[in-house]
């Protein structure tokens, strides 16, 4: 505990290009970039699958399959295979981001899909009966109704990304993971534990921010009603803390 406190309270660790603020910024930058890319792929694809009903089985299998792939192994394999083709710093950055995106897509995809699929068929039928076009149904009914599950998908993905970005330090990437990996290398437990604490706090804060945004964006009419069906969806959508 003393080592941890000593490291955290040392002003040197809060300055310079490898100081805590810079590492936090790096970590957030990787995570945000990854999440945006994954959302750009996962949300439209998930909405499309939910809207058309095509490829449902594939989604469930994809989510379960990806969950069983060990993140660390995937990260190392990607860097070893893709890295030499690139060269320079980017040799580590690109494969890592690629793996992060890959891992973040399934929960987002599954959330968007389950969100659209779970909409009361009556609401969709009524929307069509009132003369809404396919796009109007999608954006005025399906997307707003699917938001709670879209959000939980993105939230799970965000946690996954923040956690996996930490591991990416072991393939020479920046971010808070550096303290954990470097601390281990120098047998400096204070640095390791300090970094670990920062990662934990960052993850919790990110989750809280998402929870807050969700509360602002999602209609209060969609407040969760607990039912067996939702329970099962949630179990299917849960992701690893990695």
């Amino acid at each position: 505990m003393n080592l941890l406190w000593a490291w955290l309270s040392n002003p040197e660790n809060w300055q310079g290009s490898s100081g805590i603020p810079v590492r936090v910024a790096e970590h957030l930058a990787y995570s945000a970039a990854t999440l945006v890319l994954a959302a750009l792929v996962g949300i439209p694809l998930g909405l499309w699958i939910g809207h058309t009903g095509r490829g449902r089985v594939a989604v469930v299998n994809l989510v379960n399959g990806v969950r069983s792939v060990p993140t660390l192994g995937l990260l190392f394999a990607a860097v070893l295979v893709v890295g030499p083709l690139l060269g320079g710093d980017i040799a580590f950055l690109l494969p890592s981001i690629f793996v992060l995106v890959l891992l973040a897509i399934p929960p987002i995809l599954a959330g968007a899909y389950a969100g659209v699929e779970g909409i009361d068929p009556g609401a969709r039928d009524a929307a069509r009966g009132m003369g809404m076009s396919s796009l109007e149904i999608l954006f005025r009914v399906e997307v707003p109704c699917a938001l709670p599950l879209i959000f939980s998908g993105v939230r799970s993905a965000a946690l996954q990304v923040v956690a996996t970005a930490t591991l990416a330090a072991s393939v020479s990437l920046g971010g808070l993971g550096r303290f954990l990996i470097d601390g281990q290398a120098y047998r400096d437990y204070g640095q390791m534990a300090g970094g670990a604490l920062l990662v934990a706090v960052l993850a919790v804060l990110v989750d809280l921010v998402f929870a807050g945004v969700q509360r602002l964006v999602v209609s209060p009419g969609l407040a969760p009603v607990r039912s067996a069906r939702r329970v099962r969806t949630r179990a299917q959508l849960a992701t690893n803390p990695t």
Binding site: V69, P70, G73, A77, L180, A238, P241
Partner: protein, 214 residues
């Protein structure tokens, strides 16, 4: 392939280690999650704090949790107990909610009928509510099992031997084969545990298989 055949013993040993590190937390986590989940359904006021509290623990990335464990447990950084306890925490976090929701999903009229027949609260829990919640709990347990297997491999970064060691070794030597073998072995282990839980859950819920064929 050649590498794999030459290192069969080593891979097998690592896989056993891996399985133990993933299984113990699963069993302990389940045993602890059942009473906690019951508390959350029995006393509604406890539901939110229990779910929020365990949810908070669930958000902490695994590597960070492994590293922070010695501060709480007084163990050394290389002690596998850190991994076991951390994974137990994750398992509980995931399962408390599942158990609570699973127990909550038992139809009210079934519980009422049991009560009306004079089955006491404790007996009712073991003989009616828990069995009926098995499918939901099993679904959560499968998620926990599969993710535990994946997370254990992270502990290789701290030097705790299991299949993840193949990743760190391979990466250090710039050698893809052990990494590929490790990934496959992890997936096989995850699949095996997943199927085992599925099988146990089916065996424990014969009434779900007796639907009239249509």
């Amino acid at each position: 392939m050649k590498w794999f055949l030459g290192h069969l013993d080593q891979v097998w040993q690592l896989m056993l280690n891996h399985a133990v590190l993933a299984l113990i937390p699963l069993v302990v986590g389940l045993l602890l999650a059942i009473p906690l989940g019951w508390l959350a359904t029995r006393y509604r006021v406890l539901y939110s704090p229990l779910i929020a509290g365990t949810g908070l623990l669930y958000t902490i990335p695994s590597l960070a949790l492994f590293i922070l464990m010695p501060l709480v447990l007084g163990t050394g950084i290389l002690d596998p107990v850190n991994v076991v306890v951390a994974l137990t925490i994750y398992t509980i976090a995931l399962l408390v909610r599942t158990v609570a929701d699973g127990l909550g999903s038992v139809p009210d009229d079934v519980v009422q009928a049991a009560t009306a027949m004079g089955i006491g609260r404790g007996r009712r829990f073991w003989s009616v509510e828990l069995p009926l919640a098995v499918p939901v709990i099993a679904a959560g347990l499968r998620v926990a099992a599969v993710s535990n297997v994946s997370i254990v491999s992270v502990a290789a970064l701290l030097g705790i031997p299991q299949l993840g060691s193949l990743f760190t070794d391979g990466f250090a030597r710039n050698f893809l084969d052990p990494i590929a073998v490790g990934i496959l072995a992890c997936m096989v282990l995850a699949l095996a545990m997943d199927l085992a839980i599925l099988w146990i859950s089916r065996a424990a819920t014969p009434w779900l298989r007796t639907r009239v064929a249509t």
